[in-house]
């Protein structure tokens, strides 16, 4: 366990102690409602609590901004430089001395809670994240409130789960439920939040967790809208894609966005470990220096890069900047966000990613319209697609990226350009940087969490990958024992497969048939002579682990056709399954050797 892990979650002993009451009987219910149902109800409560916390968090950010930068949209004067620098210093002190677990965005910490710490995230983390992120974002650091909200929600959920003595299984799941609630409230987009948590935190679709995640996300959004209003995050202009040929323009945006994502991710991946390796005293200055850099950028005429920058995304969507300004803002925001994030300042990457995407999209759209004036898409359309592009390329959440744009825009005509551009960005980003940013950060922290991207792309072995051709003796259920013995004469294999008249294969042995004949049952039909149980149905497309549940060292099972159950497609034994797994493992080893030569992988 690395020092970072200790900082993040306390010692493993502490984690064990704090979760010990739930470990005795996983899944055992101590609740009158039944733990599963209780968990669903609890998800709503968690959603409400997370929603309230996020509302407070957002208001605190705004108050901080008003106090430090003034009420103007674009801060000006000396405070542009002084506020983020001094606030950076204060944040550094808070992070180093009081809240060491709150560095970074919070997504990985939530994943770590799920996979390593049995869902344990101390309440102190939520408090620390709240204070430090509000101070950082409110003072103009180039970070957003979404990822911190996600972690605040997860931390609250974890605390509630521990207080209610949930079982270990539920305690593990409760952090993502809180994370979805926090993200949904921060983003005012429940579908995207649910998808992101499933895509990036949990990594699998499971009916058990999906209901809870959805309930918590929806309830937190309801709370957030109750207090802050139902206004969408961005006012989306009229969007229309009239000509199919224009999709090429969006493909170009996808390519450029993919490259920009790689630049952004590589910048963070390369600078973060270097800054963390510097002497400890420099850790106090790093957020202040990042603040100073951002303040200077703001002072010199680009205050748009300060803070989360939603209002400027809104302006980009409404064609309020020239393409030169948009391009400049995209570049400066990448620089500012890298500086803020690698300095260890707590804050999220969602808002900067959307900002960069919107600006880049608008800039690319502007340039394309110079060369191809017939393009009908507005700058706002390109900016909106650009947001999805960076989301797909940088955060590597392709499905969330598409739904996020749909949810934010409420316009389904944008789906084709978004899908095309996002696909290009995702593929290019993957080609130029095989390891996603979250995995890089995890490995830099010395943790080994499952990579959601790898999980998504993992090949599932199926029965058809392991089964052998059906070169085995097969007899009919209506055959007599004598006829069966006659039929199998000259064939190989000990197992004899009894084909059913309608359905339900049975398996017997050559010796059993011979014994039956000797016992005077030679004239009996097989269904009368044998009472062997029907063997489980296996089909070629079933996952291999399904077969594994039914096999022991001696069993051989038939694999049948789904449409014609009397048709034998193949047979499978335990050794076949193990051989298939070995072959797959060998393949993955050769793949891993290729990847390990890349610089992002841990030493």
């Amino acid at each position: 366990m690395s020092p970072a892990d200790v900082n993040t979650h306390g010692s493993l002993a502490e984690v064990d102690r704090r979760t010990s009451s739930s470990q005795a009987a996983p899944g055992a219910s101590t609740f009158w409602l039944g733990e599963d149902r209780f968990f669903l109800v609890l998800s709503i409560v968690i959603g409400v609590l997370a929603g309230l916390a996020v509302v407070c968090f957002r208001i605190t950010i705004e108050w901080t901004r008003l106090a430090l930068l003034g009420s103007a949209l674009s801060p000006s004067g000396w405070r542009t430089i002084v506020a983020p620098s001094l606030a950076g210093l204060a944040v550094a002190v808070l992070v180093i001395w009081i809240f060491p677990a709150v560095r970074g965005s919070g997504v990985n910490q939530t994943k770590a809670a799920l996979y390593i710490y049995n869902g344990f995230i101390p309440l102190r983390t939520a408090l620390g994240k709240f204070i430090t992120s509000a101070l950082a974002i409110g003072s103009g650091q180039s970070l957003g409130p979404e990822d911190p909200s996600l972690q605040i929600g997860a931390s609250l959920a974890s605390s509630v789960g521990r207080a209610l003595n949930l079982s270990r299984e539920k305690l593990r799941l409760i952090a993502p439920v809180g994370a979805a609630a926090g993200l949904a409230a921060a983003f005012n987009a429940p579908i995207s939040a649910v998808l992101f948590v499933i895509e990036e935190v949990i990594g699998r679709w499971s009916a058990a967790i999906l209901g809870s995640v959805v309930l918590s996300a929806v309830s937190s959004v309801v709370v957030m809208r109750w207090f802050l209003g139902a206004e969408a995050m961005f006012r989306i202009p009229a969007l229309e894609v009239t000509r199919p040929s224009e999709l090429l323009a969006y493909a170009v945006l996808g390519i450029i966005g993919g490259v920009a994502s790689v630049v952004f991710a590589k910048g963070i991946g390369a600078l973060r470990p270097r800054l963390r390796a510097l002497p400890r005293w420099t850790q106090y200055l790093q957020p202040a220096m990042a603040g100073l850099l951002i303040g200077i950028i703001g002072y010199l005429g680009a205050p748009q890069v300060m803070g989360a920058g939603y209002q400027f995304i809104d302006q980009a969507l409404h064609d309020q900047f020239t393409w030169r300004v948009l391009g400049l803002l995209a570049g400066l925001k990448i620089l500012a966000t890298i500086a803020s994030f690698v300095s260890g300042t707590p804050g999220g990457m969602f808002a900067p990613t959307l900002f960069i995407g919107a600006m880049l999209g608008g800039a690319v759209g502007g340039v394309e319209r110079i060369f191809f004036p017939h393009l009908t898409g507005s700058i706002g359309t390109y900016a909106l697609v650009g947001m999805g592009v960076l989301f797909a390329g940088f955060l590597r959440a392709p499905m969330t990226s598409v739904f996020m744009v749909l949810e934010v825009s409420g316009n389904y005509s944008i789906i084709v350009p978004v899908m095309i551009a996002n696909t290009f960005a995702y593929v290019i980003s993957r080609s130029l940087q095989p390891t996603p940013l979250f995995d890089i950060l995890t490995r830099q922290d010395g943790l080994e969490l499952p990579s959601m991207e790898e999980q998504r792309e993992e090949t599932t072995l199926r029965v058809e990958d392991a089964m052998r051709p059906p070169r085995v003796p097969v007899v009919e259920e209506r055959d007599t024992v004598a006829e069966a013995l006659q039929k199998i004469e000259g064939t190989n294999g000990d197992n004899v497969f009894i084909r059913p008249r309608w359905s339900g294969w049975r398996v017997t042995s050559r010796q059993a048939l011979a014994r039956a004949a000797e016992d005077g049952r030679a004239d009996l039909a097989l269904r009368e002579a044998f009472s062997n149980p029907i063997v489980p149905h296996l089909y070629p497309d079933l996952p291999l682990e399904t077969a594994l549940r039914h096999l022991d060292e001696r069993t051989v099972l038939p694999v049948t056709h789904r449409a014609e159950p009397r048709e034998l497609e193949g047979v499978i034994s335990l050794s076949d399954v193990l051989n298939a797994y070995r072959a797959s493992y060998q393949q993955s080893l050769s793949g891993a050797r290729d990847v390990s030569s890349l610089p992002d992988s841990p030493p």
């Binding site: 409602l33 609590l49 003595n165 207090f227 009229a238 064609d319 507005s378």
Partner: protein, 389 residues
């Protein structure tokens, strides 16, 4: 365990003491957080409103002082605290437009239009921006959107003003037929307001549609018979309609009422000249007709001389080669027969003489130095052409 009513006290016995405490604590924390959030949110919203109003008022002041760039920043700041406020959005877009940031203003108005396509104000602003960009199809679309759109206050006045703007734009772009059509629609629903009627009549004069212009001027005069602008307009419209008697009356009244347009006196003189020279006018005796033909013939002869002198043409050359010489030869040929007595008795002769006069006036128009008499003869000729047709 099956569902049971939560009011059933038995079920609570299944809960451990610790769990009960946890639930209670959770409930208390939830209520506490709710109260804190409510307090924070209410406080912040109130502050937001104050800030929004303050920035908006500042923006309005900047706009009033014709400083649109400063107003843009102020309205943007106001929008930060009052995002859905449409008035601020419209003001911001107007400030962008005033700062000549047409594309930005247009994008802004378009997004507003998307939210409220029936808004008269937004359509009007978009129409103005389209006019500035020269996008004629959008100009019509948005002006019509403004004319038929919804206005919060005084919709009739706004719609009328929007149609006036459209007509003026069309006339500026030389779309006279379309402007005339819009004017006719406007005229039918025009409020009884002399200033609007005069404005519409003036536009009818530009189209030109003198009959409708005269109709409107008469409407104004019905309410205010001494309105000098209406009198002058009616006079000019009548003049253009060749109703010289009416024109003379209106024009003289206009001068008497204090109309100061210098063009007016020329019109008065020309009208008087037409009325005095026209040999085809009704209500005059044959002797007067003959005298007017003689006068016109004499003036045509003088005009020929002046023009020949200016162009250096010898009118006495034989045989005549150019049109001036030909017309001079004709003039000389019939000179002996042009006398009051013969003209009084022969309408054909009067017509022949006047045809020659009109030809000479037409030919010599290019020589310049036209007198009121020449202009009057030209107008009489045109009038005559109309009668012949």
């Amino acid at each position: 365990m099956s569902f049971r009513r939560w009011t059933d006290w038995e079920i609570w016995k299944h809960l451990r003491r610790g769990e009960l405490i946890s639930f209670f604590v959770l409930f208390v924390i939830g209520i506490g957080l709710l109260l804190v959030t409510h307090f924070l949110a209410a406080n912040y919203k109130a502050h937001e409103q104050v800030l929004g109003k303050r920035w908006f008022a500042r923006g309005e002041r900047e706009m009033a002082a014709n400083r649109p760039l400063e107003a843009i920043a102020d309205f943007r700041n106001a929008l930060l605290y009052s995002r859905e406020n449409q008035l601020i959005q419209i003001r911001l877009a107007q400030a962008l437009s005033a700062a000549n940031r047409t594309d930005e203003a247009r994008a802004y108005f378009l997004s507003l239009w998307d939210q409220e396509p029936g808004s008269g104000l937004i359509n009007l602003e978009l129409a103005r921006l389209a006019a500035r960009k020269g996008d004629s199809s959008q100009v019509l679309q948005f002006y019509h959107g403004a004319i038929y759109g919804a206005w919060e206050e005084d919709p009739i006045a706004h719609r009328t003003a929007a149609r006036f703007e459209l007509i003026e734009h069309l006339l500026h772009e030389d779309g006279r037929a379309q402007a005339q059509a819009e004017l006719i629609v406007l005229q039918s629903g025009l409020p009884v307001d002399p200033s609007l009627q005069l404005r519409a009549a003036a536009l009818f004069m530009v189209v030109p549609d003198y009959a409708n212009a005269l109709k409107l001027y008469r409407l104004v005069l019905k309410e205010d018979e001494k309105n000098p602008e209406a009198l002058a307009g009616a006079g000019e419209a009548s003049f253009q309609l060749h109703q010289y008697r009416t024109a003379e009356s209106f024009l003289q009244e206009a001068v008497a009422a204090g109309a100061t347009d210098p063009h007016l006196q020329t019109l008065v003189d020309t009208t008087a000249a037409v009325r005095q020279l026209d040999p085809f006018g009704r209500g005059i005796s044959e002797s007067q007709r003959a005298a007017r033909v003689v006068e016109a013939f004499r003036r045509a002869g003088d005009r020929l001389q002046q023009c020949a002198q200016k162009e250096g043409v010898d009118l006495a050359a034989t045989p005549p080669k150019n049109d001036l010489q030909l017309q001079s030869a004709q003039w000389v040929k019939i000179q002996s027969s042009v006398n009051a007595r013969r003209l009084r008795n022969s309408e054909d002769l009067r017509n022949d003489v006047m045809d020659l006069v009109f030809q000479i006036e037409s030919r010599t128009e290019a020589c310049g130095n036209k007198t009121t008499t020449d202009t009057a003869l030209g107008l009489i000729a045109k009038d005559r052409e109309g009668v012949d047709r």
